[in-house]
Symmetry: C2
Subunit: 129 residues, 2 copies
DNA sequence: TTAGAGTCTCCTGATGAGTGGAGAGTCAAG
DNA sequence: CTTGACTCTCCACTCATCAGGAGACTCTAA
């Protein structure tokens, strides 16, 4: 299967497939006489796997290390578990930050609403026209 | 005031000041005979303003458009309000996404815990060793 | 006068995950 | 044999926000 066929069957753009191959995420089984990359059927579930882990917020680098474990002959489920746990921790930290930021923004806007004469109190005070 | 003095008084690195000046966020009042950028005292509250809006998660581009309104002779408080509202909306959307993602991850991990024989059920099924 | 500190412009790189295009080569059908 | 679709490599660019360094110039203090 050449790259275009894999692209249309998987829905992943040709450019992206080449990029994945370059990163080592998606090995080609070889090249044709003319130098075209050749992929086998296994590329399809592999791309699906990549897609799923990407959708879960894992980076290509993390996905690659999962696949490396897999390619070493071991199902990477344990590693995936570990990474998913890390990912949950990251999400919690990010949500906490966002929550705090949102509170700050909300407070500023509330002050503005309650006392329009403040004209931006903490934000604009030193900025003169 | 030369760029180094502004850097030490504001705490903003020289490189960053040059970058801001290049973007038009922080106009220099001119150049010395030797070609050195010269800044006035107004640069300090301006940098403080930039710092505050940055801390609130606004991009330099958004800050620049606030400053453009300000420089046109109008206090940009209304525009800032509008942008802060947008920012809150963005945060809400992002938090919703993260919440959903977290739920998915948590669910996957819970399945794994409850039934280790699944070995990754929805994630690894098509990936054969 | 000289040393050293400060500043200038320009170039490169870093992060992540690609996208776009140029120019050349390959392949299959008519 | 030709045409058009496909693919190749290589390079630049995207988004944001700078950081690092080279090589040259300017300014200040002793």
């Amino acid at each position: 299967m050449k790259i275009g066929a894999l692209a249309s069957r998987s829905g992943v753009p040709v450019k992206t497939l080449r990029y994945y191959e370059e990163l080592g995420l998606l090995p080609a089984i070889g090249r044709s006489e003319g130098g075209y990359r050749l992929f086998d059927e296994d590329s399809l579930p592999r791309l699906e796997f990549i897609r799923r882990l990407k959708a879960l917020g894992l980076s290509l680098e993390e996905i690659q290390s999962c696949l490396a474990v897999h390619d070493a002959g071991e199902l990477p489920c344990h590693d995936i578990q570990v990474m998913l746990n890390h990912q949950i921790e990251r999400i919690d930290a990010r949500m906490k930050e966002l929550h705090q930021l949102r509170g700050e923004l909300q407070g500023l806007l509330a002050d503005w609403q309650n006392d329009p004469t403040k004209q931006g109190g903490v934000i604009c005070p030193n900025l003169k026209v």
